[in-house]
Amino acid sequence: MAILSLQGVSKSFGALKVTDDVSFSLEPGEALGIIGPNGAGKSTLFNLITGNLRPDAGLVRLDGRDVTGETPMQRCASGIGRSFQIPQPFDHLSVYENLLVAARFGGAMTAAEAPAACMDVLARTGLAHLADRKAGGLPLLNRKRLELARAMATKPRVILLDEIAGGLTDAECGELVATIRAIHSEGTAIIWIEHVLHALTSVVTRLMVLNFGKMLMIGAPEEVMAAREVREIYLGLDA
């Protein structure tokens, strides 16, 4: 059974339709990439999946169960983890505490098991040496790593990554991709919005193109990238 599925999901902000009748499903352990021009409604789609926004129409299902009316807290507890496009650390908490919150609440870990789990995630995301530093003062790369680490600490079965490679150098990006690939190889399903295509296509097995809130195409990455309409709209080539 699909771990996550959307069925006819739509959302408008005033007269602007930001998500227009989107349907797809994600199998357990699958990695799906989402691309599309700025303003295509990619982050909005994430907010609909996590419950930060309620759709005007359509259903969101987790393991076949309708969660459309559930809060972000409930969906996190059910196994959806996310990273934000603009990192949202808890500034006055340490890096370690940022993860501890996620592990104790979303991950429902006990006081005994959470510390080791958090340290494990910090080690895997290259943040272990910064564990006791306040999250507010971190530079961009480490803030991005923290977004990923904090989402991992909630023990997600589906992890949503929103432009996590954006603004990084090639080397930094490569490191992050290796971490993401490792998470994926352990069986966590991934939905990843990204403009850095080579990073994205090195991980995902399916690619979705969004434009003006509509799902333009979904399929194997090479097929999607070869499609003429995708090249026109997404890459801005003349017809």
Binding site: P72, R82, P89, S94, E97, A102, F105, C118
Partner: protein, 337 residues
């Protein structure tokens, strides 16, 4: 400094303060009683504004409700004033539920104004309670405070007058309230819920996405601080012995001064309110002979600290020295440890 050292220092300080009614004058006991009560209110307000991000300007509502409930329990119910204090806390907590229901729909400045409006409605409402003197208020029946449970024992033990024994009793209760509030705050903030609360304060959207329910935590803090504030209100009005709507629901006495204390001491830190109340009391003693000049100096000091040390005296101290004897944080476990 280890936590055990902090705890030892805390116990020594509390024990030292507990000796004041035995060794000090009655005037000092009365003065320090008010200081301790202001500290209780400050600790409560700091939890609300400093940790839960609920900047209420209406906490005087719960002081007044606590005071009035205590008076009602004694005058109308014929109960012991100490039972009245407890009832005051419970009534304040119960009434904080409908207050939260309305005020939690408001955010930031609107929440502040909303709570203020609620407190004023409470003031006007309790002014209609004819059995408790209406707008002019009423006094505790003669002897009610002196016949309080335990007052006789204190009188015998210390060999003092009944009135002084009442003062000593209320003083010790205020001290106990301070100690309990400080310990409870510390334990709460170091707990899972305290960690969640600090996450919510920093970033509510991110907190929700890692499973923390901001509304639930804030509501819990609002209810618990209403209880603490209500108990303190009951205690204050045993000592004063007289209640009126204007005194019980005084914005200046029970909220404005309290905000001043927390802000100069260090909002969002545990020792902040303690430092703040010491500065407040020190200034009061120093400038007692100058009348309104006192308030002007207080105002200027508040403005200066808000401009130059935004996290208050304690916050500035931690920033300068890096020394924090009461850390609320959770250190990462050392590898191999």
């Amino acid at each position: 400094m280890k936590n055990s050292h902090s705890l030892l220092l805390f116990v020594v300080l509390v024990a030292g303060l507990a000796l004041v009614p035995v060794l000090g004058s009655r005037a000092l006991v009365q003065d320090l009683f008010m200081v301790l009560c202001l500290l209780v209110l400050a600790l409560n307000w700091n939890m609300l504004a400093g940790f839960a991000g609920l900047v209420s300007v209406g906490q005087q509502a719960f002081v007044g409700i606590g005071g009035y409930a205590m008076f009602a329990a004694v005058i109308l119910g014929g109960l012991d004033p100490l039972a009245g204090v407890l009832i005051g806390g419970v009534v304040a907590m119960v009434l904080s539920v409908p207050v939260a229901f309305f005020a939690f729909r408001l955010n930031g400045a609107y929440f502040a104004i909303g709570t203020w409006a609620v407190a004023d409605i409470a003031r006007l409402g309790f002014g209609q309670w004819k059995a408790l003197g209406g707008g002019t208020g009423t006094s505790l029946p003669k002897g009610a405070a002196r016949d309080m449970i335990g007052a006789d024992a204190v009188k015998e033990m210390l060999g003092i007058s009944a009135a002084a024994a009442t003062d000593a009793m209320t003083y010790w209760l205020a001290l106990a309230l301070v100690a309990v509030m400080m310990l409870a705050s510390w334990l709460f903030l170091r707990s899972r819920m305290g960690l969640g609360l600090q996450a919510v304060r920093d970033n509510p959207v991110a907190a929700r996405s890692v499973g923390v329910d901001p509304l639930r935590l804030k509501a819990l803090v609002f209810l618990l601080t209403a209880f603490g504030t209500g108990i303190c209100g009951g205690l204050i009005f045993i000592q004063i012995g007289r209640i009126s709507p204007d005194a019980a629901f005084s914005l200046l006495d029970w909220t404005a001064f309290v905000i001043f204390i927390v802000v100069i001491g260090g909002i969002g830190t545990l020792p902040g309110p303690v430092i703040g109340v010491l500065v407040f009391y020190g200034l009061e003693q120093l400038l007692a002979d100058y009348g309104t000049v006192y308030l002007i100096v207080l105002g200027c000091l508040g403005i200066a600290i808000m401009l130059f040390a935004r996290r208050g005296l304690w916050g500035a101290f931690i920033e300068r020295t890096g020394f924090d004897p009461l850390p609320l944080g959770h250190a990462a476990p050392r590898p191999g440890a």
